[in-house]
Subunit: 197 residues, 2 copies
């Protein structure tokens, strides 16, 4: 009984992660109540995004050009390369405003059970970026979980022969956290990786 | 640093109710990872919805034609008219599969503080539907809150002179609920509106 175009809109919205049938319907009603320009602009943004956004040919971050903004930015430090699993991780690091070097996005982690080996990741491309000798340090910023650790370990062995510094982001108790509620593994790591003051 | 089209997509998605900046980014990444057809179909559904979906000229439910599916359906009972505040309420009633009459959508409730009087609602149109004498009962299914009650009361006074049955959806403890946790007002209503068995 729901008009066909609205039914299709609800069905498409319900395919988004975390959005069920009822939420999709609520969103669709909201869109219908909004000025018509909103749907037109959202529609346009969707098309432009999938048509124009692709992967940077150097670091594999998102870009609307051959090279992404991070690779094009001349003020960033060519000497430090931060390796991340995915775009969302890159964004999280960028939000800290702590890092002014370059990035390299693996687009995954080693996960033999899921059939992801080194060839499925952008590792070959990472190695070829080290050829010009500009990079002095590679920061491994994969997630602090089993696959992320395994990937970092694998990359460390691969990168060491290049004679550059290979580092891993620090693991320990999170800022503002409470020792009482920290999990065992994190607290144990915080102790073993303690720093002299 | 985020590619411009993606930035616009995130901004547009973040305008949806209940979707913040981070969720919008997550949705945008999901859309980018999905087959391109998904964005195209969603984009198309958005445009078609705002271009083709309008209000039924009789009951003011959503429709892609002069009359909506509820008004066109010849198997529905012309004798009973269910008056609701909005489309979402109509959908909720329809999901029960309990009601096979016609609908009338007010598109709001009386709310003097918000400047909504009878002229802002589809009340004139409701009265004109009663002219042909087919309707025998009007069910007032506005929300069981202050504005909904006030609107139901106002409509009752308006409809009584037509000599038809005017009814109000039952109020009481919800099915599956627990008396211990029912609020006072609901429980008091459940007592005063008790039914003889």
């Amino acid at each position: 009984m729901i008009p066909a175009p609205l039914g299709r809109l609800v069905a498409q919205l319900a395919k988004l992660p975390g959005i069920g049938e009822k939420t999709a319907q609520r969103l669709a009603f909201h869109i219908l109540r909004s000025p018509r320009e909103y749907a037109q602009e959202l529609s346009q943004a969707l098309l432009e995004t999938v048509e124009r956004v692709r992967l940077c040919t150097r670091c594999f971050a998102l870009s609307d050009d051959e090279l992404c903004g991070f690779c094009r930015d001349q003020r960033r430090d060519d000497g430090v390369l931060c390796v991340v699993e995915g775009i969302a991780d890159l964004m999280a690091i960028e939000r800290t405003r702590e890092f002014r070097g370059r990035y390299h996005v693996l687009h995954g982690v080693l996960s033999p059970l899921d059939g992801v080996g080194p060839d499925q990741l952008r590792i070959k491309e990472l190695l070829s970026r080290l050829g010009d000798g500009k990079v002095e340090e590679v920061i491994l910023a994969t997630n602090p979980d089993v696959e992320g650790e395994a990937t970092a370990l694998y990359l460390t062995r691969l990168l060491k022969p290049f004679g550059l510094t290979v580092s891993r982001i620090a693991q320990g108790v999170p800022i503002g956290g409470d020792l009482e509620f920290a999990d065992q593994a994190t607290l144990a790591r915080a102790l073993s990786a303690r720093r002299e003051l």
